[in-house]
């Protein structure tokens, strides 16, 4: 939360003209990195993110290997040119290290780790351009990458954030909203039973706002999930189409 906060709500609409429960435009493409076992490219608002999955492969270094199940490693990073303003330094920051950890934990939940004892699955999330909500967009992309790698999961996870601007709750905060919002809460969901796999929050929310915020995320999930499934199907359909007509 910064001072000199600009007006984020004008005529009961958000700065970019969205309603409070409206997502930014989202497009997902699967299979963008040839070398990876699975990959996905997501454009979500002005976010541009690539996620790729390698594995399962032999776990390295050896002492990290778990003979009973697969281990997951995750790297989340932002490009030096991802911001509108300054030139970012490459290399891990405390922020990116934390985000890498919570993303890893999301996938440890949904991937059938016992299927691949002694192996390692690597998740890479590269934020080429950032516009608020990069970790949520990164998880949504990584989930498609994991599915396109054919790694069995019990559900296709999606993530989105909800925040508070003054007394209003707003879904899927963009960069300006994220910078000046009164509260921000990214959430990752396994949609089948509505299990929450990632939850972070800062700022302030009442108990009523918390319930309403989670409900907003859960109902937005249908649209996000559909985009994810469509991206996975599109990978096949585009080749099929060559032979139609």
């Amino acid at each position: 939360m910064k001072s000199n906060k600009p007006e984020l709500i004008v005529n009961n609409k958000r700065l970019d003209g969205r309603n409070f429960d409206e997502l930014r435009p989202l497009s997902i493409k699967a299979g963008v990195i040839d070398n990876a076992s699975g990959s996905a490219y997501v454009e979500w608002g002005n976010n541009k993110i690539i996620a790729a999955v390698y594995g399962p492969k032999e776990a390295m270094p050896k002492h990290m290997m778990d003979p009973s199940k697969a281990i997951i490693k995750c790297r989340y990073a932002m490009s030096p040119f991802s911001n509108l303003s300054e030139h970012g330094r490459s290399g891990p920051s405390r922020r990116s290290t934390e985000i890498s950890k919570v993303i890893k934990e999301v996938f440890e939940n949904v991937v059938f780790l016992n299927e691949f004892p002694g192996s390692e699955i690597d998740i890479f999330v590269e934020v080429l351009q950032g516009d608020g909500g990069t970790r949520a967009a990164g998880i949504t992309a990584a989930s498609v990458a994991m599915a396109s790698a054919g790694i069995p999961m019990r559900d296709l996870v999606y993530a989105v954030s909800v925040g508070r601007i003054d007394d209003k709750l707003a879904l899927d905060l963009n960069m300006i909203e994220d910078n000046y919002s009164d509260s921000d809460m990214p959430i990752a969901v396994a949609p089948r039973d509505g299990e929450i796999l990632l939850l972070q929050m800062d700022g302030g929310l009442s108990r009523e706002q918390l319930s309403r915020g989670i409900s907003m995320v859960l109902s937005a999930g249908k649209d996000i999930s559909k985009k994810q499934i469509d991206a996975l199907k599109e990978n096949y359909d585009s080749i099929s189409k060559k032979y139609e007509s």
């Binding site: 990195i33 070398n35 990959s39 790729a52 390698y54 080429l128």
Partner: protein, 262 residues
């Protein structure tokens, strides 16, 4: 890097094909793979370009920042090119500090553009104590061989795509970008690989594994601007002279491809 058995088998295959004067994808010895340049893919950056060269995919982003000039050159701005081998680009790349391989790629990419005087660093000077710093970061997204040429051409295309932030009352406004970054010269890069007795342009991933020596030549159509010989093997003077000639021929094609997409 330990060579795996599957790589050894590929090397033998590439060599047996070359013995018949053939390449695995039936290209001519001095043909590039298909190259696609897409400038302006990243709007937050001052300039950007994605280059696909066969299966290799790289993305260059340019950020232009206000900073103090270096003390030894108080009347000019600064330029830095860095290439990063993202771990998602190939299973052999890992997270962590840059490897010697990545540092060489960064420095060779930087050298071509710097030696080519593509940007007049004096033109980046604003006022005493203030100058523009131009940062070109090249991200390797998928490694499919010949990163040197892909990165150089991406960096060059991204520079040509760049617009300057505005500077008003001591403040930088990145949202307001009007004037193009002034580019004085266009350099292009050609990388050759020597495998046994054969020399070829634009090595693929498998051909790089099989390479004994590598030569990168950067030129601007009138002068050679930078060169880098890599790996254990060697070249003779005659070979180098011939390859430089090919490099000049390729410059015409590559330059028009870059300019067409700006």
């Amino acid at each position: 890097m330990k060579m795996e058995s599957i790589d050894m088998i590929k090397v033998n295959y590439i060599k047996s094909m070359l013995a018949k004067n053939m390449r695995e994808d039936s290209r001519g010895m001095f043909d590039f793979r298909n190259m696609r340049i897409t400038p302006g893919t990243m709007g937050n950056a001052e300039g950007s370009a994605q280059v696909e060269l066969g299966r290799t995919k790289v993305l260059a982003g340019v950020k232009i920042a206000l900073e103090a000039p270096m003390t030894d050159t108080p009347d000019q701005g600064n330029m830095t090119v860095a290439a990063e081998l993202l771990p998602l680009a190939h299973s052999k790349y890992e997270s962590g500090p840059p490897t010697p391989e990545a540092i060489e790629l960064s420095r060779v990419t930087d050298r071509g553009i710097r030696a080519g005087s593509c940007i007049d660093l004096k033109s980046l000077f604003i006022e005493e104590g203030k100058a523009w710093g131009v940062y070109i970061d090249v991200y390797v997204l998928n490694y499919g061989g010949n990163l040197f040429d892909a990165c150089e051409i991406a960096a060059m295309s991204a520079l040509l795509n760049s617009t300057m932030p505005t500077y008003e009352d001591g403040k930088v406004i990145h949202e307001n970008r009007k004037n193009r970054l002034k580019i004085d010269n266009i350099v292009t890069s050609t990388t050759f690989a020597k495998i046994g007795g054969s020399i070829l342009l634009d090595p693929s991933l498998d051909e790089e594994i099989a390479s004994d020596a590598r030569l990168t030549v950067t030129n601007d159509g009138s002068s050679i601007r930078s060169m880098q010989k890599g790996l254990r093997g060697s070249f003779y003077q005659k070979e180098i002279e011939e390859l430089v000639g090919i490099s000049f021929n390729k410059h015409v094609e590559l330059k028009s491809l870059i300019e067409k997409r700006v």
